[in-house]
Subunit: 220 residues, 2 copies
């Protein structure tokens, strides 16, 4: 029974890694589409979100099946419950990535962001791609040191998010209302995406180094 459980837990982990990887591809496409006004890339990111949604539903079903069949307790139980929550955050990150791509598609062939903010959104996009890559790595290796790195990168995203508000509220801002709306929403989507990554990182940190792996050695 224990061995079956360990296999199932490894399966849960593999699937979380896979979903996180797809979210990483999505945010790389969305932010590039957004910053370079690439409508094809935006379309790709949008259409690929269905796959993320599907995989998270399947993962949730697997986690519930494990709860029912294996009746885990203590730390094992917390790992499975955490998987459900991580899945929910990943699904939401996919949605936010889609929202960023939708802004690019909606404004095409124009760029979403006025010239003065392109540097800022370029940096934010790059940070989200880094954060996603770190998150997949964190889910793969359970190396909780990466959680700290993700938090630090999130601080940078927050600072850039605030700087977007400073820019659009400055007297020198001469963007149209549409620019103001798009920059506000886009910045908020970027910020929320990073927040979800931090929330996942915290859950893994809470479970402790090598949550899924330690469990394989039977440590509780």
């Amino acid at each position: 029974m224990r061995e079956v459980f360990q296999q199932e837990l490894a399966e849960v982990q593999d699937r979380l890694v896979e979903i996180s990887r797809l979210v990483g591809i999505s945010i790389a496409k969305s932010t590039r589409a957004f910053n370079e006004s690439d409508v094809n890339l935006a379309e790709e990111a949008i259409s690929e979100d269905d796959k993320i949604d599907e995989l998270t539903i399947e993962l949730d079903e697997l986690a519930i099946t494990i709860l029912a069949r294996q009746q885990p307790v203590a730390r094992d139980l917390r790992i499975v419950v955490s998987a459900l929550r991580i899945s929910s955050s990943l699904e939401r990150m996919g949605d936010l990535s889609t929202h960023i791509a939708q802004l690019a598609r909606y404004r095409f062939p124009d760029k979403v962001v006025p010239k003065s903010l392109r540097g800022t959104f370029g940096e934010m996009g790059a940070l989200l791609v880094t954060i996603s890559t770190m998150l997949t790595e964190l889910l793969t290796t359970q190396d909780v040191k990466l959680a700290e790195v993700i938090r630090n990168e999130d601080d940078k995203v927050d600072a850039l998010h605030l700087s977007v508000f400073d820019a659009v509220l400055a007297e020198t801002w001469n963007g149209a209302a549409a620019d103001t709306v798009d920059s506000t929403l886009a910045s908020r989507y970027h910020e929320r995406f990073a927040d979800h990554a931090v929330s996942i990182a915290k859950k893994i940190q809470y479970l402790g180094t090598g949550a899924w792996q330690q469990s394989t050695t039977g440590v509780q």
Copy 2:
């Protein structure tokens, strides 16, 4: 064992109802603070969010304890897992309510919303209060007909949300950039609040009429 489980499930339900009730009070205060520029009410809503956060953490712990002790399967298991998800949405609704109150506080003594949009935000606020009331009722009675009502009210919120964008993007819009930013964010917070209510309603609908109660009669 079964009887203990039913008692614990009833306890979970009671706590969800309580949290939902507090979220309802919070959104009533936040939207009034927002629309009437009442900074004291905004402060109240903001400070009361800690209680919501605390109660959701306690509820999550209770749900996990039930999973560990009672080892529910089939529909019972799904009810407990749903409780975890509902709790997470309620916590988020509390956050969004706080964001609305923070906008009111930040802009005080000015009103957040320019005159031309006050009617729209007034309606949106009233809809959120209605939706919250319905949600508490749905959690209390498990009457899934209320889920449909919540979805309908959410459609109205979505329509108003779109109308905010139409307004700020119209040629006649003469608000400052700060008005555009605040209206955009506020509208988004209102829309997301309603979305979470719909998401909870769907979960209860999925579990079927009288989820918690049916379980009390031992029906699976």
